[in-house]
């Protein structure tokens, strides 16, 4: 628990729904870890951010990606696929955070090497609970790469 306390964890949230973005922010604000949340609203922007292209030339390499599936321009699947094909980006854990609980979607995501799949709970308490679990596990328990390549 104590080993990375000083570091600020960079999280990229790819979500087109502003309501969800806000809810996620609210939830993470209650988290114990020190996090910095970066947000892109579509798949194309997400990839640009990850590859530091276009307006995101100065963006940091995120430690974790929270990826919605249903995105404008480029779907979450495509983002996931391209990330996992990229030798640098594939090291970043991707957690799918979507409203779909279709079995086919779940299967497809894991086939493309998603690291976790979470269906957005409709209930607020549960939603907050889910993000609390992410904080406790992915941001506190799991050891992430200390120095992601730049």
């Amino acid at each position: 628990m104590s080993h990375e306390t000083a570091r600020t964890i960079e999280i990229l949230l790819v979500e087109d729904n502003f309501g969800d973005v806000r809810l996620t922010k609210e939830a993470l604000s209650e988290a114990k870890s020190t996090t910095r949340l970066h947000i892109t609203h579509d798949g194309v922007a997400a990839l640009e951010f990850l590859k530091k292209e276009g307006p995101y030339g100065e963006s940091p390499q995120p430690d974790l990606v929270l990826l919605d599936l249903n995105l404008p321009k480029k779907s979450g699947f495509e983002v996931l696929t391209q990330m996992k094909q990229d030798p640098i980006l594939r090291t970043i854990p991707v957690i799918i955070l979507t409203s779909s609980n279709a079995e086919t979607d779940v299967r497809k995501c894991y086939e493309h090497h998603a690291n976790a799949y979470i269906t957005k709970p409709v209930d607020l308490e549960q939603y907050f609970g889910s993000l609390k679990h992410i904080d406790e596990f992915w941001l506190s328990t799991v050891r992430l790469l200390s120095h992601p390549r730049q």
Partner: protein, 882 residues
């Protein structure tokens, strides 16, 4: 007897004895002491004598060869051959001992040979005459030469012109031998059939004179009168004997030739008798068999030696002997049949005791050796058997013909019936064979008469088979349909002599045919029949209406007339295929068939084919139905079904997308309502709190609704394979899912052992879960008790199903709502009484139906509700899949 002598013979005898007397006189004239020494004359006399002796010898041999049974000629021939040869030596040697030696030897040996005539006729030398002659011809000259060479060793024969005692002894023996043989001839005057009485007398006297002259010559002195007398007498005797030998030889030749002919005749007779194909016997008048041919052995089993001398009665069985089957046979040709013979059929008796039928021809003939009965016997066994076979086959034919279920007739070429069986007589209705003989032509139906008679005439003329279907008018006035078939009977040269044939009653067939036509005509669909060539032989009114042709347009035409041109090509092949495997079936499976109307338009048809076996092959009865209207309706239905499927699919798609996409905004609403409640509850005012609660509750219900809708729409879309599922496991899973609800309601679930069924595991759990949940939700005042069980039900088609039941003790409902409860969004209670959105049972129903099952409910208000649903057992599912 004297008359039988010829002039010549008597003259010869007289002359010869006259000469003998003259010679004796000469001897007396010349005195005893007178000696007439004429050696030359002596030599000539002896030479002539030798020649005569050889002539006698030759004739004797020749006659002997002709009739070898009379062996005396052999001995006479040998004697005179010897005599001739030694006399020749005697003539060559005129004087001395040697001369006398030759002469006495000649007399002695010839005498000895002559004596052999006393031997019985059967005695013959074993070697052939030819060999004897060859030996003699070699031995005698050698002996002569030998004697001449060794004169010193010859006994002393002559002593001063007188004979020594040796010479005298030899002369006496030789002469006596001649006399001895003369006695044989005297005793056997009929020794030869060739010589007459007088000639035999001459023969005997010649032998006697030779004998005496030889004896006397022993006491004569050379050149004295007695000496000369002896020579002359001997010469004379030789002359007579030569004459007789010649006569015998000539008549012997004639007789020999006659006998040859007789032998040939006999042989021919024998051949004729032996080669006859029947037994032939010659029988004495008293019945003794004297001659048989070899056929008798084969017929009666007796060999020639066994039966000759036996009575002919042995050839018939004992019981017929008393009847005297031969007694009244006429022994003279004057009686009996015209040629003097009698023919009878009798029974023969074989040696082995077997009896057999015979035919006997008896005739009597008078031969030189008496009256003989000639019997010819023919074995009738084979003939009798043939007759029996013929009789039997006639009887068989009759029995067959009379027992036959068809009329059978036989008639001459004029059409007069020579035979008709009872069936035919009954069929036409005449009373007898005689009547059918002339009446059958008149019994023909007037409308058919000319046709049938013309056909008949043609058959008799050409020899072609007769075949006609026509009517007879029965004597009782009814009409009889018959099928007449006949073929001509020919002579060897091919001329028709008559007709044999059958008449088959086809009245019933005709009736059936008429009925058949009626049925076809009355059929509500088009019907037509085609023959093996594809020609239309029958159509009904429906066909006329369907195709626009009249009946006469179609009968006899090819079926392809009714088929559109583009389909005609393969039709012939298909018809062939049908005739190879004729069974009832629809035509053109899997293809659309079209008919072609007279006006050229086409219309869709359905054709059924039925093979009909009739004479001449398999015909096809086809039913034709115009399916224009049906095709249109079918197409419409198909279109509608397709539309429906698509619309259903779209609806499902819509429901899914809608419910899925509804989740997103719903989540926003519910989430922020909750956030509001969380942050601001009790901070604004009481109204605000209440508003927020309503909003949160509404959002929650909507979430449930959308979840259920999503489940419902997914139910039809999922395509999970059905597997064998233990239903007990599914119930257990459902109970586990409902754990909280059950414990809250303090519900008890009893589950009987449940079977294994074919199902989608998840959906089966859902079914039990919804139904158990339902039972708890609608519980009454007492704690809910739920009983789950299953039993096997045998279906109509033999496929068994499992029928599940879920029984509760809840509030129940009126049975009138039993269908309504399964309808989506239909509810029987207000949300306040029993929360729910009306989707639970709809989902259950959809799942059960997707599994090929059925669901229904029985309920009584206040008592409880039982849901039933059926599912296939794995076995049934397998057999259904197979």
């Amino acid at each position: 007897m004297l008359r039988s002598l010829s002039i010549d013979n008597r003259l010869t005898i007289v002359l010869s004895w006259a000469i003998l007397l003259i010679a004796s006189l000469l001897v007396w004239i010349v005195s005893e002491d007178q000696k007439l020494a004429l050696p030359f004359l002596h030599a000539v006399l002896e030479a002539v004598a030798a020649l005569l002796a050889l002539i006698i010898s030759w004739h004797s041999f020749t006659t002997y060869v002709a009739s070898p049974r009379e062996s005396h000629r052999l001995w006479v021939g040998l004697a005179f051959m010897h005599m001739g040869i030694f006399l020749a030596f005697h003539a060559l040697v005129p004087k001395g001992d040697l001369s006398i030696w030759f002469r006495t030897c000649a007399t002695l040996v010839a005498g000895m040979f002559s004596l052999l005539v006393w031997l019985p006729n059967q005695v013959h030398p074993k070697i052939s005459l030819r060999s004897i002659l060859i030996i003699c011809m070699m031995v005698y000259p050698l002996m002569g030469v030998f004697s001449m060479r060794n004169q010193d060793h010859i006994p002393h024969m002559l002593d001063h012109f007188n004979m020594t005692w040796i010479a005298q002894l030899l002369s006496v023996i030789g002469g006596a031998s001649f006399i001895g043989s003369g006695i044989w001839f005297l005793r056997h005057r009929k020794y030869s059939s060739h010589v007459s009485h007088w000639q035999s007398v001459l023969q005997v006297s010649s032998y006697t004179f030779i004998g005496f002259s030889e004896i006397l010559s022993g006491w004569s002195t050379t050149w004295d009168p007695l000496w000369w007398w002896c020579h002359i007498v001997r010469l004379l005797s030789f002359t007579f004997m030569a004459y007789i030998a010649k006569v015998e030889f000539e008549s012997g030749l004639v007789q020999h030739a006659n006998r040859d002919m007789q032998i040939q005749e006999n042989a021919r007779f024998r051949l004729f008798v032996e080669s006859a194909p029947c037994s032939m016997l010659m029988v004495e008048p008293d019945g003794t068999i004297t001659m048989v041919n070899h056929r008798l052995k084969a017929m009666f089993g007796y060999g020639r030696s066994e039966i000759i001398g036996q009575s002919i009665q042995n050839l018939v069985p004992q019981r017929f002997r008393n009847n005297g089957w031969l007694i009244d046979v006429p022994y003279s040709g004057a009686e009996g049949s015209s040629d003097g013979s009698q023919v009878r059929e009798l029974t023969g008796l074989h040696k082995d005791g077997k009896e057999f039928p015979i035919e006997v021809v008896l005739s009597s003939t008078e031969f030189s050796f008496g009256i003989k009965l000639l019997v010819i016997v023919v074995d009738l066994t084979e003939r009798k058997r043939t007759e029996n076979v013929l009789r039997e086959s006639k009887a068989q034919f009759k029995a067959l013909a009379e027992g036959a279920p068809v009329g059978i007739f036989q008639c001459d070429k004029e059409g007069f019936v020579t035979y008709a069986n009872q069936r035919l007589i009954d069929m036409i209705g005449v009373t007898s064979q005689d009547e059918v003989r002339t009446r059958w032509g008149y019994s023909l139906h007037p409308e058919d008469r000319d046709r049938v008679l013309a056909l008949w005439a043609n058959t008799v003329k050409t020899g072609h088979a007769f075949r006609s279907e026509h009517r007879f008018v029965h004597a009782d006035g009814s009409i009889v349909w018959v099928l007449g078939e006949g073929s001509t009977v020919h002579e060897e040269d091919g001329a028709v002599i008559g007709v044999v044939g059958t008449l088959t009653d086809v009245t019933e067939d005709k009736l059936k045919e008429a009925q058949f036509r009626l049925v076809v005509e009355a059929a509500p669909c088009g019907m037509l029949m085609i023959n093996t060539e594809g020609q239309i032989t029958l159509v009904n009114a429906q066909i006329e209406a369907l195709f626009g042709y009249s009946r006469s347009d179609l009968i006899g035409h090819h079926i392809e007339t009714l088929i559109p041109v583009r389909f005609r090509h393969g039709h012939g092949e298909m018809r062939k295929g049908f005739s190879h495997a004729p069974y009832t079936r629809p035509m053109g499976l899997g293809r659309y068939l079209f008919g072609l109307r007279k006006n050229g338009t086409e219309f869709p048809v359905e054709v059924g084919l039925n093979p009909i076996q009739i004479e001449g092959g398999v015909n096809v009865l086809a039913t034709v139905v115009d399916i224009t209207e049906r095709t249109r309706v079918e197409q419409q239905l198909e279109q509608q079904a397709e539309d429906l499927t698509r619309s259903n699919h779209e609806l499902e798609q819509f429901a899914y997308v809608a419910s899925h996409d509804l989740q997103e905004p719903l989540r926003m609403v519910s989430s922020y309502c909750e956030l509001l409640s969380r942050r601001y509850k009790g901070k604004i005012d009481q109204d605000a709190d209440e508003f927020i609660d309503f909003a949160v509750d509404g959002a929650k219900r909507m979430k449930t609704l959308i979840d259920d809708l999503l489940t419902y729409s997914r139910t039809g879309r999922q395509t999970e394979e059905f597997t064998a599922i233990d239903a007990t496991e599914s119930v257990r899973a459902a109970i586990s899912n409902l754990q909280i609800t059950i414990s809250e309601a303090e519900a008890v679930v009893h589950c009987d052992p449940l079977p294994t069924v074919m199902a989608d595991s998840t959906q089966l759990i859902q079914v039990f879960q919804n139904l158990i949940g339902n039972a708890i939700k609608f519980r009454g005042k007492q704690s809910p008790t739920i009983r789950i069980s299953a039993r096997e039900i045998s279906g109509d088609s033999g496929i068994s199903h499992w029928q599940f039941s879920i029984q509760d003790n809840g509030i129940g409902f009126d049975q009138q709502y039993c269908d309504q409860v399964f309808i989506i969004f239909q509810r029987l209670h207000t949300r306040a009484e029993h929360p729910g959105n009306g989707l639970g049972l709809a989902i259950v129903k959809k799942i059960v139906e997707r599994h090929g099952g059925r669901i229904w409910v029985e309920s009584t208000p206040g008592i409880g509700t039982t849901f039933f649903f059926s599912l296939r057992s794995p076995l049934a599912a397998n057999s259904a899949a197979a």
